[in-house]
Amino acid sequence: MPKPKHVEPKLVNIEINGIPLQVPEGELLIEAAKRIGADIPIFCYHKYMKPVGMCRMCLVEIGTKQPDGSVRKMPKPQTACTLPCTEGLVAWTESEQIIKDRRAILEFLLINHPLDCPICDRGGECPLQNNTQFYGPPVSRYIEIKRHLPKAFPLSKYVALDLERCIHCGRCVRFTEEISGDAQLAFLFRGAQMQPHTFQLTEFTSRFSGNVIEICPVGALTSRTYRFRARPWDIVTQKSICSMCSNGCNLYLDSRSGQIVRINARENPAVNETWTCDKGKFEQTYMHAPNRLTQPMRRRGGDWEPISWADAYDLLLARINEARKTGDRQAIAAIAGQRLSNESLYLFQKLFRAAFQTNNIDHRLTRYQGNLQADVAARLGYPTSGIEYGDLESAPLVFVFGSDLIEEQPMIYLRLRKAWRHYGVKVLVAYPLSTPVEEFAEVSLRYPVGGELDLVKALLQRLSDSFPASPSQSPNPVSIDAAASLLAQSPGVIILVGEKAWNHPEAQSLLLALVELAQRLPDGKLALLLPEANSQGALDMGVLPDLLPGYASVDDATARARFEAAYSVPLPAQPGLNTDAIFHACLTGEVQVLYLAGVNPVERHYDPALAERALSACDFVVVQDALMTETAHYADLLLPACTFAESEGTFTNWERRVQRFWKAIEPPGDAKPDWLIFAELWLRTMRQTPPFNPREIMCEISELVPSYADCTYEMLGDQGRRWE
């Protein structure tokens, strides 16, 4: 059964350490004890995994209240992690017996533990160290020779396994089985010889392998990228948000001497629970890439000449003013990246709309560059996604359409897997190739590459005979029938739409067909999954040729009036050019100045050749980016920008959750945060006070954009806030 949305839990009366309290029935005793602050040491228990009671560390004494008020005690201690609370439960977590038991269990665990804490990467933040410190024996009575097993065995390029340190809690094995689902780790042998391993010591290829490092309560599984780079007390930890995709995983960035040495997951039950994918955890190292830009540079012949920021601004504004005087309205265009923060994107559109009087701004590099407001929001009431993570668990059926979920949206994949495993949510998948979602999908539709539109049309036709039949052959009539009947039977279907839809040659018709499908299904919800960390923010902030921040149309005079009053300049009323139109205008010479802020069309545009030709044809290309990308080679002026780790701001993830990230390290050289570059340009052109920090920009956004009204930094807090 899918998880019911709102259930009033039944409360039961229990007593822990003499303190009476009411908890929901069935809550595990270990969680109930946290409510009164009673500390129960644990190794194998993990909040997001099934309890197994393997390590015996959480033993407590329990009893039940009898009708006459007396307490009947259980003769033996019980594991708190496997004990659901029931009416009249009485527990003691600090009794003399329990203190003795804990000491004995720790002494046993330490017999086979090498105690090489000084060289162990877990030392200083190790649950085994901490529990021994608080509950363990002061000295060891074990004088025999310790066992010896392979140390630092490389399981993959990310994970090293030290078998001597393993205490057999099974967290890693359970993670690969329950959460990531690939079951690549298992316990081999038994008894004293038991060890967690991959099959025949082959590579640990899971896409979520980094999580086992974090959940290992000892240093048995350690990171190879972080190996020996720092100790916990050398590290400065800062809260952040992952910049690799639109899932918006909450992270901690750990830096030492200005270098990010490690990335860990930060718990957010509404988003990533406590997981990360390997891309976010290990591959997010571009802030220390050797091709970082550290200084503004202009092109002199074939060479780069370093110049000061003041000269760079002068040069840029001179070229823009020239273009505005000589050319027509189309002479300036700008494309912003989808990894910029909301604040930067907002200032970006403000600068170009108000200061440079152009609507030629966009951020999309996909084939679909239409008007989301008209195509989707006007029909469904939301522009991209009508759901949040939690909704996946309570849906009867989730239809994954055109997305290799594990690659594109790893955290949605994990949550969908959880929904299927724990709540029996049915899954329907349509993808041209083999995808891991098929393993647990009720029906899989493999359509020929590019056959998305035919598939949706075929489904629509099956759902209602009035819809005209699809012209070409659909992939497999039998499974289409099965899929259609599954869709028709489950009210409240969620349709997750992936990258294939955005890049379909007839993207707009496909999108309209999908909207039609969502409308046709009873209570159907559509979620258009976005490619990058702040793609949603770029839409919300109006980095679009035809929409102002908050999806108001630029030709709507009342909406414009609000912004005009705030900016005290008139705004252009005619919709501008979208990305493709900008590139074509570059080719005809209409666009003379092209400003690219944190965007890499030469690599990311669906048609790189078009982007390359446009950039070579354009008179003056300004590239503002953190890295010397392929696109930067076409620039006439380079402005070094900061990455998310070096500046403050917010990202909006695919479910429209606005989340803050904080500055973790100093920017290299003269690099400046994107918002600051736009603010300084604003100051130079408008002679108006620019905003001084991202907090202030967000205040302005919350005043002007109704959906962001609640998104000031004070309201956002650590866990973010989803706008409705």
Binding site: P150, K151, A152, F153, P154, L155, S156, K157, A160, T176, E177, D182, A183, Q184, L185, A186, F187, L188, F189, R190, H197, T198, F199, Q200, L201, T202, E203, F204, T205, R224, R227
Partner: protein, 204 residues
């Protein structure tokens, strides 16, 4: 494992399903399919499937056998390997034609199991866990065989040899050398047949 090793070693990738060489015979596949019908979940048939694999792969489970079982049951390789290494009656190394498994638990030990072991080692010229050069006998030590009344006990394939004496051992070895009964493969066959009903056996 030293530092050099960790920097240079790249583990081989686990085999992809299409890279596996499948060796189950027609009959084995039929048996597995029949057994799978007994359970709601394919995972439940793992133990009989491993017995079939042990029979098909010549009395032991090489990594390829484990991979094949995993493939046929739709489970991960590591999971099947974990089960196969947990149970001692699945052989992970090649063994001889016959397995001589001598119990050395308490009752047998008191009745002279170690004398029997020593005699066997001497007679066959091998140590515990080794196989004779002619590939006939593998000698191992096992825990209680649940036959303490007849101690000392030895298991050979699908039978128990009870109340052992050196003379009895001589006779047993002679009988095994000359016959073709109670082999390792036969034990696997018996174990597989145990999982099939009378009717199913007839229909196969």
């Amino acid at each position: 494992m030293n530092g050099q090793a960790i920097r240079l070693t790249v583990r081989p990738r686990p085999p992809r399903p299409e890279e596996l060489t499948l060796r189950f015979s027609e009959r084995a596949i039929k048996e597995l399919e029949t057994i799978l019908r007994h359970y709601p979940d394919r995972k439940s048939a793992m133990l009989p499937a491993l017995w079939i694999a042990q029979r098909e792969y010549g009395g032991y489970l090489p990594p390829e056998a484990i991979a094949e079982v995993a493939y046929r049951l739709g489970r991960s390789y590591a999971e099947v390997e974990g089960v196969a290494t947990f149970y001692t009656m699945y052989n992970k190394q090649p063994v001889g034609k016959y397995m001589l498994e001598v119990c050395t638990n308490l009752s047998c030990m008191l009745c002279g199991a170690y004398r029997i072991l020593e005699y066997l080692q001497q007679k066959l010229g091998i140590q515990l866990g080794e196989t004779t050069p002619d590939g006939l006998f593998t000698l191992t030590e096992v825990e209680c065989l649940n036959n303490c009344g007849d101690a000392p006990v030895m298991q050979v394939g699908d039978i128990y040899c009870r109340q052992l004496t050196p003379e009895k051992i001589d006779a047993i070895l002679e009988q095994l050398r000359n016959g073709d009964e109670h082999t390792v493969l036969q034990l696997a066959e018996v174990e597989v047949q145990l999982h099939l009903s009378e009717q199913e056996r007839a229909s196969l």
